[in-house]
Symmetry: C2
Subunit: 158 residues, 2 copies
Amino acid sequence: MARAEDDRLHEGILRFEQICRERGIPVTVQRRVVLEELLESSTHPTADQIQRGVQRRIPGISQTTVYRVLELLVELDLARKTCSPGTACRYDGRTVRHHHLVCLSCDRIVDHDDPALNDLPFPDRGSTGFELREYSVQFLGTCPDCLNAPKDTEKIPP
Amino acid sequence: MARAEDDRLHEGILRFEQICRERGIPVTVQRRVVLEELLESSTHPTADQIQRGVQRRIPGISQTTVYRVLELLVELDLARKTCSPGTACRYDGRTVRHHHLVCLSCDRIVDHDDPALNDLPFPDRGSTGFELREYSVQFLGTCPDCLNAPKDTEKIPP
DNA sequence: CTGCCTGCAAACGATTTGCACCAGC
DNA sequence: GCTGGTGCAAATCGTTTGCAGGCAG
């Protein structure tokens, strides 16, 4: 697990550096650290959570910068932005196809991999008119923690 | 099409009235009209768009009430709340299993029905710990309008 | 009389924007 | 010196909340 995350981290950073080189985008400390933070976290952090993590390494970094870097990463297809019906948007450093278990009670999002879900039929371009490049299955329900907690679980995923 | 929507409308209203009767929830004009507006619209309107539609029939209705009614409808499982990575949350009056085509450029959400997607395997309760009751496949890409418009399409779905 | 639905205005939280400063080319 | 990234503070936007009036049971 730690090994897989480590690989993902290095691979992501390398890809980032290559893309930046190609497009002439400067690789600043802030950008690298935000990406690292995102790749290291296996939860699906909010901008705020990422900010907190990054601040341990760059104490002076501003929220604005974190938002701007995240937006850039999404543009470069190095991150995915997801908004569950809760409050804040969440960012996801995994760009390979995977799926999500969403807790309707506490908004937690957990990754779900299942080979059986990775080859679903894309809608026909002709009938929908959409040009589609990716998909993701969202399962909705209740997470283990909220199942145990009788009600009104606080909305703060670990 | 118009026929199907009509059926959905009446069925939804009836279900709403029954649920309210069961739970002793008053069926006010505002609630009925918001639900009707939601059921009539085939797009996935934001709270704001619903508000505009409802105001044609109840000029004095407040945004607050629209939000509160929508929240109630979600609680009663008569509507689904979806947040695409854009800005505002969107509401969906269709509670039967269906899927979504999401335009990453203008945030439009279009329904997609495909029998092949309606019987996917649910994750194992034992391994995930989640109690899941529904799922939905989100296809990500670009809608026909945004494919035609070169760039920076306005973020206002019709 | 009581409860709760509604409307208004203010509060709130997440995100964006305007502007000035600063570093690197 | 010019370009573009960053930080700060203010603005913005969607949504929520506190409170008072009003209607229905």
